[in-house]
């Protein structure tokens, strides 16, 4: 008796188009998948910097604190930033090397603001794997990274070692002669 009931299920259905039925299933699955994919975005985006972190992303710095030949390391976006008040000799050395053979060629002038050649502001992380280089090491008078021996010159350009790029110059602007806004 039960078998006859099941038998009914295998009978061809009249008046309904199998392709239309398939379309409904495909549409339902596609809609569900689309919804799930959209829901994933908030779950990913929440790991991006939050509004309060973004709000602190720019900082102002008073340059009068840095004497000539000195360097101050400030924390910006959680990372070190070197603010260096370069001596005339350091600048001259950097400019002289402008056309030397370099991995990441750049002129010294392109790494400072016009007329403010004494102020070099660069990111304090080695472009190799992120260690913090120390000033005054290596044979180019600039920075030396203790981790894997990258050597930067007085303009923060990579001259030797495994690092691929020059020390990064962040976006910044002079608000006055003695004040910069970074970021």
């Amino acid at each position: 008796m039960a078998d006859t009931a099941v038998g009914a299920t295998t009978e061809p259905e009249h008046g309904s188009d199998p392709s239309r039925r398939d379309f409904i299933h495909i549409a339902a699955v596609a809609a569900a998948a689309g919804g799930a994919a959209t829901l994933v975005w908030p779950f990913i985006d929440q790991m991006n910097p939050s509004a309060d972190t973004r709000a602190l992303a720019s900082t102002e710095f008073d340059l009068t604190k840095v004497a000539e030949g000195q360097q101050v390391t400030i924390k910006w976006r959680g990372k070190p930033l070197f603010v260096r008040n370069r001596t005339k000799a350091e600048i001259a050395k950097a400019v002289k090397d402008d056309h030397a053979d370099m991995k990441d060629p750049a002129t010294d002038a392109s790494r400072v603001k016009p007329g403010k050649a004494q102020w070099l502001i660069v990111g304090g992380n080695c472009t190799h794997l992120g260690c913090v280089p120390t000033f005054g090491g290596g044979e180019y008078g600039g920075w030396f990274c203790p981790c894997h021996g990258s050597v930067y010159d007085t303009s923060g350009r990579i001259r030797k070692g495994p690092a691929p790029k020059n020390l990064v110059v962040p976006d910044y602007a002079f608000l006055s002669d003695t004040k910069v806004k970074i970021g």
């Binding site: 299920t9 409904i24 339902a28 809609a31 919804g35």
Partner: protein
């Protein structure tokens, strides 16, 4: 059969819930006044002009005693906020917000000397509190602590309507009610007055005592947009502003919700069609 039973059960459940609503004894606070808010309902949005007026009331009156420490100045320029300007999607650059922040002094540490200093606030700072700590706040307010206002509209049953009702609801205490020093009678305040009531025990007046004297009066704040500053207007505007402060993502939430519900209804329709198609040949 279970269907019928479940309907009966659901009705019974609703009845018990319904019966609970009007069951409040004498004493207790009055129900908050029924106020119409622009942010009610599934499509509700904040009225920006109202939020700006409400901010002015907060700035000129409430902020003298009440902190709002979870709100940052930049929040005032966010989407749906009092000073949102589509020209400045990054609220930190909104000139109105910058100007508001600059008016406040916030505590900081001098990077060079290590001294505690005050500096003008930036949009990234949060609203500084009027008192250094809870003890100072209590000492200045006769022992009562003015609650922080960042979440006030969500931290009270009735929300903004409750705040509105409290602010406009002050009245002279009924005869026979003993009001202590530093206390004020308000029929919308939660509390139980029976032990202060010398009148008929069956008719204890509604409401309770509040330490804050009536904070607003008509004409206290001059609105920049020319709106007449009646007490009701001021109270309503500041309540709306506090609702924004407590739930700044309200507009985004409701708008997202509408899209999500439309999607889910369509998806349910498709799945139902799919379900019917799958089962059409099966007796069940």
């Amino acid at each position: 059969m279970l269907r019928k039973l479940s309907v009966i059960a659901a009705v019974a459940g609703l009845l018990t819930v319904g019966a609970s609503a009007p069951a409040f004894a004498n004493g207790g606070a009055l129900e908050p006044k029924d106020v119409h808010w622009s942010f009610e309902g599934p499509f509700g949005t904040f009225d920006q002009a109202q939020l700006q007026r409400g901010y002015k009331v907060y700035r000129e009156v409430c902020s003298a005693c009440h902190s709002m420490k979870l709100v940052a100045f930049r929040n005032l320029g966010d989407k749906g906020a009092p000073f949102y300007n589509p020209k400045y999607p990054n609220s930190n650059e909104n000139p109105v917000v910058k100007a508001i922040a600059k008016d406040y002094q916030v505590a900081d540490i001098d990077g060079e000397t290590g001294d505690a200093i005050k500096r003008p606030a930036t949009p990234a700072d949060r609203f500084p509190s009027p008192f250094a700590n809870e003890a100072a706040a209590r000492a200045a307010n006769g022992g009562a602590l003015p609650p922080d206002m960042s979440l006030l509209a969500k931290a009270r049953e009735g929300g903004p309507a409750h705040i509105y009702s409290i602010v406009v609801g002050y009245q002279a205490p009924p005869k026979g009610l003993k009001v202590g020093p530093g206390q004020n009678y308000n029929p919308y305040m939660a509390g139980d007055l029976s032990s202060y009531w010398s009148g008929d025990k069956e008719h204890v007046p509604p409401g309770g005592f509040i330490a804050m004297p009536q904070p607003l009066k008509a004409g206290q704040v001059t609105f920049d947009d020319g709106t007449k500053s009646t007490l009701e207007q001021e109270a309503k505007d500041v309540s709306a502003f506090l609702m924004w402060a407590a739930e700044p993502k309200l507009e985004e939430r409701k708008q997202t919700g509408f899209a999500v519900l439309i999607y889910l209804i369509l998806l349910s329709g498709l799945l139902y069609a799919s379900y019917k198609t799958v089962w059409r040949n099966e007796s069940h």
